[in-house]
């Protein structure tokens, strides 16, 4: 207490000094010599307007001297008569300037604050004011409300602001203010709202802010504030909102914050806070939003949190919290959002969760939780999303979930669940995502799942599912991603798949599917990934797959596919990766594959392919072994005999030039020598006779 008095006195002295400095400063804009207060206010406003960038002046066309009396227009000028955004008191002096969202591009420096002795309300938010906040703003003795938020103000918050002794609301959020929070703000005894969020403020939160006994809302979020949260903030007994999220605050959460019994929203997320969550948090009887996520908090979650009966949102994710989740959390009857994910929590989930029937979003993923799904979740009709993946939860998954009218997303992947997939999932009319990857599920896929027609992602991979794909899957016409890989499913791909026109990603690999690859797959025009590898698909690759213009990756390897590779596949112009290895494909690789310019990776090894390898760069490093008669100009392959003939025409021509012509020429020469020799001999003979 003595510290705060000391601060108070020090600040008061500082304020006096600042005031003296300001008054003696040559930059003062004193009121003009004009007689009426109203005309000097008009002048000040018009001077200010004149300093704006040209286009904004159009918004303030009403700011003008009255044209009716031309002899002395200034005498009749009154901003109280219909000037946009200006209101006056009964004495005709401006007491309110409200120019929010008025397209003002300018600064505050040309505004003569001294001209407005009665201004109580200054609202300039959502404009494009730039440059600094002039310290002369402190010359508004009656100012109660100051809102400069959502502009482009820069520089530091002037400490002279402490002279605005009547100020109740100070909004400077969403600007580019820098420097520290001046401790002089603590002098503003009547301040009830302080919003400095969304700036570039740094330094520590002044402990003297605890002097602001009337403060109900303190918003400092989204800055670069550092240091600890001052314990003295626990003295702000009227505080309802404390928002310090997205800063670089460190140290522990002060237990004294538990004294803020009127606090409804406490947001400290995304800082560097460490230490434990103090159990005094349980004293925040009014709390509705408690958000401590994305810090380095350790230790256990205090059970006293279970006493916060008004709690709607509890967000503790991405910390290093350990120990069990207190069972008392099941007592929170108004809880809507429960986010405990990405911690090191162990033990069981609270048994009475969703007791009040209000829980919508429940995530506890990425912890080390064990034990069963709480029975109370079965009747939790309010559920919209449940994320419990990456834990060690166990239990029979077919019994623990019910029918949820609002459930949109479920992920139970990578746990130890067993049992069958419940047909009740079909009774979730809004279900969009169902993921139960990597568990010990058995039994077959229930046909009732086709009733959940809104499903867009269905991932049941890496389980022990058996049986066939039910035809009813064709009813999931919104399906975009279907993963059934890594199970023991058998049978054919149902023809009803042809209605799954929006499919983007299809993975049926590593199962026991058989029969032919249906040609209808070629109609999935948005498909970018198709993996049917490691199955028993047989017969030929349907040429209709060539219609998959946007397919990026195709894996048909490790099947029993036979016959020729259809040349239409070269129409897959977006294909980058193709794996056809380990099949019984025969014939030659279509020459048209030379047109697949996007190909980067190819594997055609272990087939019965023969003939020339197409002239495509992707084949250069491609695994092609285990085939019968592939040939080509590639390392490890024989050069092609027919190719040699064709290629050799070029080579031959060269050979012709290099070998044959010189031979021919020498022959010619020899002949000509012979010829000459013969002629000479004849002549000699003739001469002799």
């Amino acid at each position: 207490m003595s510290t705060s008095t000391f601060y108070g006195e020090a600040c008061f002295v500082a304020c006096i000094i600042l005031y003296a400095q300001l008054v003696s400063s040559p930059n003062n804009a004193f009121a003009s010599a004009s007689s009426s207060a109203s005309s000097s206010e008009a002048e000040a406003l018009l001077e200010w307007k004149a300093s704006f960038q040209n286009q904004t002046q159009n918004n303030l066309t009403s700011w003008t001297y009255s044209p009716s009396n031309s002899t002395n227009p200034k005498a009749n000028a009154s901003p109280c008569n219909g000037w946009t955004g200006i209101s006056c008191n009964t004495a005709g002096s401006v007491n309110m300037i409200n120019l929010t969202n008025s397209g003002i591009q300018g600064t505050l420096h040309e505004l003569s604050f001294l001209s407005f002795p009665n201004l109580a309300y200054l609202e300039l938010s959502f404009n494009e004011l730039c440059d600094t906040i002039p310290p002369q703003i402190s010359f508004l003795p009656k100012l109660i409300y100051l809102d400069l938020s959502s502009n482009q103000l820069s520089g530091q918050i002037p400490p002279e602001i402490c002279l605005l002794t009547n100020l109740e609301v100070l909004h400077l959020h969403e600007n580019q203010l820098n420097g520290s929070i001046p401790h002089q703000i603590s002098q503003l005894n009547f301040l009830s709202e302080l919003a400095l969020s969304h700036n570039s403020l740094e330094g520590m939160i002044p402990a003297s802010l605890s002097n602001l006994n009337n403060l109900t809302s303190l918003s400092l979020h989204e800055n670069q504030l550092s240091g600890s949260i001052p314990a003295s903030l626990g003295n702000l007994s009227n505080l309802t909102t404390l928002h310090l999220q997205k800063n670089q605050l460190s140290g522990s959460i002060p237990p004294s914050l538990g004294n803020l019994t009127k606090l409804t929203s406490l947001s400290l997320y995304q800082n560097n806070l460490s230490g434990t969550i103090p159990e005094q948090i349980g004293n925040l009887k009014s709390i509705v939003f408690l958000e401590l996520g994305e810090n380095q908090l350790n230790g256990s979650i205090p059970p006293s949190i279970g006493g916060l009966s008004n709690l709607v949102s509890l967000m503790l994710r991405e910390n290093q919290l350990s120990g069990s989740i207190p069972q008392e959390i099941g007592n929170l009857k108004k809880l809507i959002y429960l986010q405990l994910d990405t911690n090191q929590l162990s033990g069981h989930l609270p048994q009475n969760i969703c007791r009040g029937g209000t829980l919508q979003s429940f995530t506890a993923k990425a912890n080390q939780l064990t034990g069963p799904i709480p029975k109370s979740l079965k009747m939790c009709k309010s559920l919209t999303s449940v994320f419990l993946q990456d834990n060690h939860l166990t239990g029979n998954v077919s019994e623990v979930f019910g029918a949820y009218p609002n459930l949109k997303k479920v992920d139970l992947s990578h746990n130890n669940f067993y049992g069958e997939i419940s047909p009740t999932w079909g009774l979730c009319p809004q279900l969009a995502t169902l993921r139960i990857v990597g568990n010990n599920l058995t039994g077959s896929i229930p046909p009732e799942i086709g009733n959940a027609t809104q499903i867009q992602e269905l991932n049941l991979s890496s389980n022990g599912l058996v049986g066939v794909i039910p035809n009813e899957i064709g009813r999931l016409t919104s399906l975009q991603r279907l993963n059934l890989d890594g199970n023991q499913l058998w049978g054919h791909i149902p023809s009803e798949f042809d209605s799954l026109k929006d499919l983007e990603y299809l993975d049926l690999s590593t199962n026991k599917f058989s029969g032919s690859i249906p040609s209808i797959l070629g109609d999935f025009s948005k498909l970018h990934y198709l993996n049917l590898s490691n199955n028993k698909f047989s017969q030929e690759i349907p040429f209709q797959l060539g219609k998959l213009f946007h397919l990026s990756q195709l894996d048909l390897s490790h099947n029993s596919l036979e016959d020729q590779i259809p040349s239409e596949m070269s129409q897959m112009q977006s294909l980058e990766i193709m794996n056809l290895s380990h099949n019984n494909l025969s014939g030659s690789i279509p020459k048209s594959f030379e047109q697949m310019h996007g190909l980067v990776q190819i594997d055609m090894s272990y087939n019965q392919l023969q003939g020339p390898v197409p002239n495509n760069k992707a084949f250069q490093d491609a695994p092609l072994e285990g085939n019968e008669g592939l040939c080509g100009n590639i390392a490890g392959l024989q050069p092609c005999p027919s190719m040699e003939n064709k290629r050799a025409t070029k080579k031959d021509r060269r050979l012709v030039f290099i070998i044959v012509f010189p031979v021919f020429e020498t022959l010619l020469l020899l002949l000509s020598f012979l010829g000459i020799a013969l002629v000479r001999k004849k002549r000699n003979k003739e001469q002799d006779t």
């Binding site: 609301v169 928002h243 997205k246 983007e504 980058e576 996007g598």
Partner: protein
């Protein structure tokens, strides 16, 4: 006198403060959310795009990598109109930008040139206008660039010849003018990639100015 509006303001502000902590901290999610606000989504394909979630990786038509960075945006043939914005350039890990066959108009934002991991950009079949951004020359990983069937004008930036990984290029059915580059990957593209424009044929190096008649 000012107390009533004051209390009204502080109530509404308190309400706002209740909402604001719930918004995502994820910049990629925020970028996609901003993109969504520019779109008219006639068939509600973006319904799952919930900005209050931790990241956009559970949003449909969005694919993330193991580090929760967006690598694919698949919105082809989705009845979307509206325009694009610079925020798309913030998806630094994006590899596949699939916006083909919609009704998206306006200019192609130059910020798309910041997507240095982009492998495939399919903007074909829309109403894009204006020029092909020169900044596309920064897309060093680009393999597929399909801008055909739009209303693009101006010339094909010569800088695109530096995209050594570019394998598929289609600007047919636009309003492009000037000459067709011949260097780098452009030597491999067929003439169909350029048809139905106002292009004046292949670039004649050293003889006439490049942007001749454009």
């Amino acid at each position: 006198m000012a107390s009533f509006p004051l209390s009204l303001v502080s109530f509404s502000l308190t309400f706002l403060f209740f909402l604001s902590p719930a918004l995502s901290t994820n910049s990629e999610g925020n970028a996609l959310h901003a993109l969504r606000s520019r779109f008219n989504d006639a068939t509600n394909v973006l319904q799952s795009w919930d900005p209050t979630l931790v990241n956009p990786c559970t949003w449909f038509h969005v694919t993330c990598d193991a580090n929760n960075h967006v690598i694919r945006l698949d919105l082809g043939n989705s009845n979307i109109s509206g325009s694009l914005g610079p925020e798309l350039g913030q998806l630094k890990h994006l590899e596949y930008l699939e916006l083909y066959r919609n009704d998206i108009g306006g200019k192609i934002p130059k910020e798309l040139g910041n997507l240095k991991n982009l492998v495939s950009m399919d903007l074909y079949g829309n109403r894009f206008e204006g020029k092909i951004p020169k900044s596309f020359s920064k897309l060093k990983s680009l393999r597929f660039l399909r801008l055909n069937n739009n209303k693009l004008s101006g010339s094909i930036p010569r800088e695109l010849t530096g995209l050594s990984n570019l394998k598929v290029f289609d600007v047919s059915n636009n309003d492009l003018c000037g000459t067709i580059p011949v260097d780098g990957p452009f030597s491999t593209f067929s003439m169909e990639s350029f048809e139905n424009n106002r292009l004046s044929g292949p670039e004649l190096q050293g003889l006439v100015p490049y942007d001749f008649g454009c």
